[in-house]
Amino acid sequence: MSEAQKKIEIEVLRYHPETDSEPHAQVFEVPFTDDMSVLQGVQYIKDYLDGSLSFRWSCRMAICGSCGMMVNGIPSLSCQTFLRDYYPARVRVEALSHFPIERDLVVDIGGFIGKLESIQPYIIAKEPRTLAQGEYLQTPEQLHAYEQFSSCINCLLCYAACPQYGLNPDFIGPAATALLHRYNIDSRDGGKAERMELINSEEGVFHCTAVGYCSEVCPKQVDPANAVNQNKTNAAADYFLRFLRPKGGAK
């Protein structure tokens, strides 16, 4: 049998909000080659078998963070997950866990976008400088302190890996906390006090029970579990140190 005739079954969780009351599985037979990603598999379905299949993708090289899906129950970027690792068995593809399904493999990420806005993901200058004063300088060590946390591509695999987020979608969650931490520990930033209010809040880091799966599935080695757990210590310090500060410190 020639290479081109090999086929692999891809089972996709379909959901059409206008006609379906709940999601259901649909199996497609896709021509298989050794170099095909799961994303290419679903693209084949859309191009040749069923044009109504909806999914998000863009870069095909693990940079844009759009193509996150559950592949055999594991949160994965479908562009860097390869069908050859499953062949000849059937591959099960599903929308990212813990997010509401908008349609097929597309999830509603509105909740995360709100959280991302709330952490103020930009440098709040410690000492504002004029253009004439020049750029904000930073040593390589100061860069190294936060660099890992700045690698987040907002792909949301960590949220799909976090049962605490699944049980309580108000939890600020791994990626937003990792990015919050990235700015808090940046030597040029002075916004930590504002951001700590989120960390210390009811929706903050104490929902985390250190499952650690978020860091396992992260395609960029951000280690969001580390950011969340470091901020448990920071939150505890904030709580106890306010007794030592004049006027209590807390707002």
């Binding site: 909000p17 206008e18 866990s97 399904i101 049962p163 049980l167 499952v211 799966y213 470091q230």
Partner: protein
């Protein structure tokens, strides 16, 4: 009319859906053995406060095969608990920099396990020495 109708999937049985979560539930479950063993020690302390006869009857009760079986089970559970405790430790602490280099996760886990092992052996030696 808005045709959006986002579907929220149920979280029922979430921990059975992924081997990672099953392991998580098992290692969290071993904490119950830590609590149970603390209960045993507290009971002993309470019996000690009641005098020599009460203390000796507690010691005799500990020789019951069921109690010994519980201790063997608790030892296994606590050993696994200790291992998973130190395994997650690198994710819970700020980076440790030694000589300008960040300490690896396994170095942190390994040191934790080494300290736990040494402390357990030290305690065992101390109690053994006192009992002789």
């Amino acid at each position: 009319m808005n045709k959006r109708r986002p579907y929220v999937r149920s979280m029922d049985g979430w921990w059975r859906k992924n081997p990672f979560f099953v392991e998580y539930m098992i290692h969290e479950g071993t904490a119950l053995f830590v609590a149970a063993y603390a209960g045993v020690l507290l009971a002993g302390l309470y019996r000690l406060s009641q005098g020599e006869a009460a203390w000796n009857s507690w010691l005799t009760a500990l020789q019951n095969p069921w109690y010994i079986a519980f201790h063997v089970l608790a030892l296994v559970a606590l050993t696994y608990h200790t291992y998973t405790w130190f395994k997650i430790m690198p994710r819970t602490m700020p980076p440790v920099v030694v000589g300008g280099k960040r300490l690896s996760a396994w170095a942190i886990t390994g040191s934790g396990l080494a300290v736990a092992g040494a402390a357990s052996l030290g305690l065992l030696a101390l109690v053994w020495g006192m009992a002789r």
